[in-house]
Subunit: 329 residues, 2 copies
């Protein structure tokens, strides 16, 4: 089995469906930013998981496509509003909506994307509509809580690793868990499968985010697609920085005190990235982060084994987990 | 029948239920703005309509309360995000969320209110869940379209009266229509009643907004609760201003050209409000607006008569419509 080919098949199926969605022409400043955002691409991990799991559990038909789109549209809505809040200029190599248009356009078209996501989830079969909407809404609330914690962390210097893991569980993992559970729900899966696949998604989400943190520092510049050290330059509270702030001593502590909070204009990128990476290296954080990624991906595979999925399907999803934690961008 | 007493009974019932809602304590900057917004009061027109109509059609029990709250929470979400977009400092006599906290808090807690509104609507009886969510989501989309049109109008000087009426139908009326229709839906009303009550709400909403426009200029300062002329001072494109911009000639045209767009700091409130009100008076706009309000309230009553409601209930709702269009604030 070539997991890349399997992934691409589902990706193509999703993108083909996405291409059939027509947005109203007017008001242009409401709908053009939505079409723009949805056309920027990305891995489409969440809808691929929804489609793949539904397929494995017997709901391979058209009924799962709107649900997968609802998950992806919700995800893109959160990115759109997060980019306003974080004043981010670029997303997937293109200007963000609030830069290309303005803040008001970004706020309102984001609101519309949230409602449109709900409309797509509401196309779930009526037998699971209530459960699908409850999961979707509960997940959305958790994600807002995660985003608020992430913003709260910006002004705190005493964030613990456990608090960080709790935050990324809310901000990132629960939607990956929900994407899996929705695929199972549409298929009429039993409660044990719903729980097992949600648990798989949660742990995959944690591993996925930790890999994100790791790639920013030790990614291969030729394959990463972004400049190395972006998180370091903006003092982003990642697993690496939080662990370092909790543990660094002596010269390493001095280095962090010197560089963290230093305005971007007053230090060269090379100098700051190299200094902070040095601290991470002293604390052995590359290996420790890889170990944490492996721990969560193993838990994801264990959860998978608790489900009633066939050995072949467990193997496919295990390969997918491996592919995602070994990714280079 | 004392319609004020009837209204206050439903208002008390709604506010009592609202008082039982507990918000999570953390993250405080996500939930405190929501509790703050929901505590600011207001007429609670939409949930009162939902409760009253459900009661009349036989769903007087507890099942309608979450749906009424969903409508009110959605309405408050739109006000919260609109205030960010319009840079409004005050709402119901208190600082707006983005002033009391900041823009990011307002964006994110607004997002959470939209999802919470959906959670309350999802508590509708399962037999009407799908119809309730479809109506709720479709209405939300129409309201975003209305808000975008309203923002588009700010930079245009050629808005027609028909375009304005189309905009307020979307921005204001459809939610009042939906509040009525949801009350009927929860009661298991027939399609004819659903349509008649929606139509009543739509026309009531138009009359309500036109009355809003009128009160800003000719309200009784002792009863209005806000300073007279707020819309005039910020060149808000109301029914009055749009009609005047389409019709004013000669000296009146010169007056509009002189004062509209004039920065607030460069003209006294008394001078600008008096000059623009003079143009409105020359065009007989007070009487013409009152006539438009009456036209829409009559259509609302006609719609009501198409329903299967008893004569007593039609009389109560007719009295409510009269009360709302005769209001002084």
């Amino acid at each position: 089995m070539d997991i890349n080919a399997v992934y691409n098949d589902y990706l193509t199926r999703f993108n083909t469906y996405l291409g059939t969605i027509e947005y109203p022409a007017q008001p242009a400043r409401l709908y053009e930013p939505i079409a723009y955002t949805m056309s920027l691409g990305g891995k489409r991990l969440r809808p691929v998981l929804t489609l793949m799991i539904a397929d494995m559990l017997g709901a391979g038909g058209a009924e799962v496509l709107p649900v997968a789109l609802g998950v992806e549209m919700f995800h893109n809505f959160t990115l759109l509003h997060d980019d306003v809040m974080d004043r981010a200029d670029v997303r997937r190599g293109k200007p963000t909506v609030h830069c290309k248009w303005n803040d008001n356009v970004a706020i309102l078209s984001g609101d519309a994307m949230l409602t449109m996501a709900s409309q797509f989830i509401c196309q779930a079969p009526s037998r699971c509509l209530s459960a699908a909407m409850d999961l979707f809404n509960r997940t959305a609330i958790e994600i807002y809580e995660g985003q608020q914690l992430d913003m709260d962390f910006e002004t705190r210097n005493d964030v613990t690793v456990d608090e960080y893991l709790h935050m990324i569980r809310l901000k990132t993992s629960v939607l990956i868990g929900a994407a899996c559970r929705l695929g199972a729900l549409v298929s009429g899966a039993c409660d044990a499968d719903l729980d097992a696949l949600y648990d798989m998604g949660l742990n995959l989400g944690l591993a996925f985010q930790l890999k994100d943190d790791l790639l920013d520092v030790w990614g291969d510049p030729d394959k990463f697609g972004k400049q190395i050290g972006g998180d370091i330059m903006c003092d982003k509270k990642t697993y690496l920085l939080i662990t370092a702030m909790n543990e660094a001593q002596g010269v390493d502590r001095d280095t962090l005190n010197r560089y963290i909070g230093m305005a971007e204009a007053t230090v060269s990128r090379g100098e700051k990235v190299s200094a902070v990476t040095g601290v991470y290296d002293h604390l052995n954080l590359r290996e420790r982060t890889l170990a944490a990624i492996n721990r969560h991906s193993e838990r994801a595979v264990e959860a998978l084994r608790q489900s009633t999925l066939s050995a072949a399907h467990v193997a496919t999803l295990t390969a997918l987990i491996q592919m995602l934690i070994n990714r280079e961008n």
